[in-house]
Amino acid sequence: MGALIFVVALVVVAVVLVFAGVKTVNQGFNWTIERFGKYTRTLAPGLHLIVPFIDRVGRKMNMQENVLDIPAQKVITKDNATVQVDAVAFYQVIDAARAAYEVQNLHLAITNLALTNIRSVMGNMALDEVLSKRNEINNTLLAVIDQATNPWGVKVLRIELKDIAPPEDIVVAMGRQMKAEREKRATILEAEGVRESSIQRAQGEKQSAILIAEGKREAAFREAEARERQAEAEARATAVVAQAIAGNGTQAINYFLGTKYVEALAKMGASNNAKMFFLPVEAAGVMASIAGIGELAKEAQARAAEAARPRGSVPPSG
């Protein structure tokens, strides 16, 4: 009977031994082993045998990449604007033992590290920089936080600022600024257009004025030329008349005067509103000059006859 009790106890011990000694670590986890409470080794994924009663599984660390939401917080920038910022961090436990024993609450530690570093990095920047240099901020945060978490056997792989929200009134002001800048540009462009067009118009007017003046100048030149030519022609005509006078005496003059008189009388007669007109006192002179024309014709006839005779040809007719 005693032997049976002992053997049953032995079976119980064996079962407990198997349960305590055989450890299967799943992929994605690392288990730390403590011998009498002190860390001795880390179990990688797979089947393991530990010494029961002496060794004990300490922490079961998740070795997968982990996402950590950094809660929103208010940050005061260098130019005293208050912005609301939240972020997301990705980290992975690289060294299970250090992550298990070097830091008490890993999540809380990384979260607080990120919060304070976001404040210090963004506090060093003006609002405009904060809004436009996200990538730079992310990189700075990553470098600082990764360095700080290194002793914990944790690698921070990525930190991203999720949302940067300036206060409502600043957003409105930024919108107004943007609008004003666009309007300024539009106004400048418009003014430039007006300037350009008035310059073009003035240039056109100048050009046309120059052309008109040139035209006038040319016309004047030509007119002067014409007058010169006319004067020349008159001079020549006068010369011819003078020659004629020198040749035929007063009768030639009388011819000219006579034709003019007759022309003037014809004009007076053609006038339709005055049928009564006065003849100058010397009207008789007109008749005399007409008679002179007759004399002239006779003289010319005589001269022609004289010219024709020596050749002995047919006498000139009428």
Partner: protein, 143 residues
């Protein structure tokens, strides 16, 4: 009630089912112990109950110790770099973007930057990752 070998084999079967249903490789060894007892009864049906239980206890523990190596071989090597970001870097060559001073420096790889340890080198030197210690990469000058 006399115990026949079937009883032990039935227990072994139950334990095997438990092994499949429950996490961890624990019941497998108990099942081996039970199967061994069944085998014993098959050979020597008159064995005492005490001896059977003793055998069960011894075989269960011994199988756990002895089979560990062969089972480990069975689980294969798999992807050693899975979940081990550092191990994936071993053997690869990189260009230092910061010098290694006093045996320590930093190297930007992909998204993150790693602490590198090794002989002092200027930035721009080509290095090969020789080993990984926690979050630090041990590097040596690349040929």
């Amino acid at each position: 009630m006399t115990i026949v070998f079937w009883y032990w084999w039935a227990l072994a079967a139950v334990l095997l089912v438990s092994e499949m249903m429950l996490p961890g490789v624990v019941f497998l060894f108990l099942a081996i112990g039970a199967a061994a007892c069944g085998l014993l009864l098959l050979v020597a049906p008159a064995a005492a109950l005490e001896f059977q239980l003793f055998l069960f206890a011894i075989v269960a523990v011994a199988s756990a110790v002895l089979l560990r190596r062969s089972l480990r071989r069975l689980q294969g090597r798999g992807d050693e770099a899975l979940n081990e970001r550092g191990k994936a870097m071993i053997g690869r060559t990189f260009v230092l973007d910061q010098p290694i001073l006093n045996g320590r420096g930093r190297l930007t790889l992909g998204d993150g930057s790693w602490i590198v340890t090794g002989p002092d080198m200027a930035a721009g030197a080509r290095v090969r990752v020789a080993a990984v210690e926690g979050t630090e990469l041990k590097v040596e000058p690349a040929p």
